[in-house]
């Protein structure tokens, strides 16, 4: 392996880690502000101007808080679970092209850590492994609410992995590749060539499943405050709980990158404007996660299962069938 390639990759990994850890923290600020405005409140106001330094205050609090491992928990599993959540979120990001390639100091940079030809499969697989965070954390916690949350989490993740996979199968059939770069090239011809026009059903199904994958509000029953306290996070404190949080928000950002790249043209032809457009699209999908949280109620677990197996999965299969027939 070439030395330059190794150094470049390590630098890219560090940048992605730092940027998205910080974004996960700042994302909490945005969430609190936007939710507050939608509910006629002010949100954080006291730390820094308009409360922008609230993230720093939260970070200091989380880092300096005592790391409690309760008596009856299975300590090794309990300790590793948050790391799984945060780590899988970042590992999955390795195959996402965040920006088009650009040249800096005469050196061409591809803002993707590993351009593997099975990018989508890899991302879906790693995100599936992310299930082990809530599952192990909840089961090891010696807390009945955490256990309930783990059970719900396993059910939801496994069910919606099916929808995610099936919904994305039809676009994959059209593009004929599993690489996100190829997806982007396929849609590089401007708005008319976006995947969303030919695969609107797949787009909506994937979007719905993204809410389940990240555990956001309509499908927030894994850690529903008003039913099961904080779910798998009930027994956690300090930085371990913070890792769950970072994982959740990083996942939201990565999914918000995935949806535009898969369906909405990604960064287009790779120009500067295209890069800005990708960031804009990503921001919209992130904003939508917060928007629904202010507007929509949570569904019951049985409704969630019904929605997945009785509606979304048949629709996804039908979508694949229709796509296949049309392609023939």
């Amino acid at each position: 392996m070439e030395m330059a390639y190794l150094i470049e990759t390590i630098i890219k990994i560090v940048i992605v880690m730092l940027v998205f850890s910080a974004l996960a923290g700042i994302g909490t600020y945005f969430e609190r502000k936007i939710l507050a405005f939608m509910q006629r409140r002010l949100g954080p106001m006291n730390v820094g101007p308009y409360g922008v330094l609230q993230f720093g205050a939260d970070a200091i609090k989380l880092f300096t808080k005592e790391d409690i491992v309760p008596t009856n928990v299975v300590a090794p599993v309990f300790k590793i679970a948050p790391v799984i959540t945060a780590a899988t979120a970042f590992i999955a990001a390795a195959a996402i092209p965040f920006l088009p390639s650009f040249t800096i100091f005469g050196y061409e940079v591809h803002p993707i850590i590993a351009d593997i030809n099975i990018g989508i499969l890899y991302i879906l697989g790693i995100m599936g492994v992310g299930l082990y965070g809530p599952l192990l954390g909840g089961m090891a916690s010696a807390n009945k609410f955490a256990l309930l949350s783990a059970a719900r989490g396993a059910a939801v993740f496994i069910s919606y992995e099916v929808v995610t996979g099936l919904s994305i199968l039809a676009p994959i059939m059209m593009v004929g590749s599993l690489s996100l770069i190829d997806f982007n090239e396929y849609q590089a011809g401007g708005i008319t060539s976006w995947m969303v026009w030919t695969q609107p059903v797949a787009f909506i199904l994937f979007w719905i499943a993204a809410f389940a994958e990240t555990g956001r509000t309509p499908f927030h029953l894994i850690a529903n405050d008003h039913e099961i306290i904080d779910g798998f996070g009930t027994e956690y404190s300090g930085m371990r709980w913070g890792l769950f949080f970072i994982g959740e928000y990083a996942n939201m950002f990565f999914i918000s990158f995935m949806i535009p790249i898969l369906f909405l043209g990604g960064y287009g032809d790779g120009s500067f404007l295209g890069a800005l457009a990708l960031l804009g699209k990503m921001s919209f999908f992130f904003f939508f996660f917060l928007w629904t949280r202010a507007a929509w109620p949570d569904v019951r677990p049985d409704q969630l299962m019904m929605l997945c197996w009785k509606i979304l999965m048949p629709v996804a299969v039908l979508n694949i069938l229709v796509t296949a027939i049309v392609m023939m």
């Binding site: 405005f37 939608m38 002010l42 507007a295």
Partner: protein
């Protein structure tokens, strides 16, 4: 911060009964309900409502230590000792009724004869940790001397936290300017209540 809209308790004619349909029992009716709910796009109504509020930016937050909601004249917070308007002397005659009636036993009063053989308060304290702010002391006081004030921020580091006679007494300089506020007491109505109260109808 205006609070008029919160205080308006007039029952208007805008109330109406919501028409709630019965739950469907037949499978076909259930299916129709699902279709209706799916395509009526009610979820987007919810999205629109919060987005409207987002842009309207009507914030109702009271940023508390800087802003405070007005409190009513009947509010019973930390006690005050009033002075006589004519002579600026203390109104309290040391009768001890407040100590007697106090249901929480939080008032302690000691009196002595002064040089004119009149009764004078020598010690007077209220344990605010015990006080339940029932207002009996203010009600029983024959001289309107002990009253309730509007100071409600009485957090302290310990349960037992006392207020003494001198702290409650209206300061002399406030008295000289004539700024002593009278406690309107029980049954006092909020300002401008006349405009809000509906007249009793003579016939239905």
């Amino acid at each position: 911060m205006k609070d008029e809209q919160f205080n308006n308790r007039n029952v208007s004619n805008e109330y109406f009964l919501v028409d709630i349909e019965d739950y469907p029992t037949e499978p076909w009716d259930k299916f129709k309900r699902v279709v209706k709910r799916t395509f009526r796009l009610e979820l987007f109504v919810g999205l629109w409502v919060v987005m409207r509020e987002f842009f309207k930016f009507e914030i109702h937050t009271v940023s508390y230590p800087e802003e405070k909601m007005p409190i009513g004249p009947r509010y019973r917070a930390i006690h005050e000792m009033k002075r006589l308007w004519e002579s600026d002397t203390e109104r309290c005659i040391g009768c001890g009724l407040c100590e007697k009636i106090c249901v929480a036993n939080c008032i302690r009063i000691e009196t002595k004869r002064d040089e004119n053989s009149r009764k004078e308060v020598s010690e007077y304290s209220i344990n605010l940790g015990r006080c339940i702010y029932c207002g009996f002391c203010a009600e029983v006081c024959p001289e309107l001397a002990i009253t309730h004030g509007g100071r409600y921020e009485n957090a302290s580091e310990q349960r037992e936290h006392f207020t003494m006679y001198e702290d409650m007494l209206t300061p002399l300089d406030t008295m000289k300017v004539g700024n002593q506020l009278e406690f309107e007491g029980f049954g006092a109505i909020t300002p401008h209540e006349d405009e809000r109260v509906k007249k009793t109808p003579l016939a239905y």
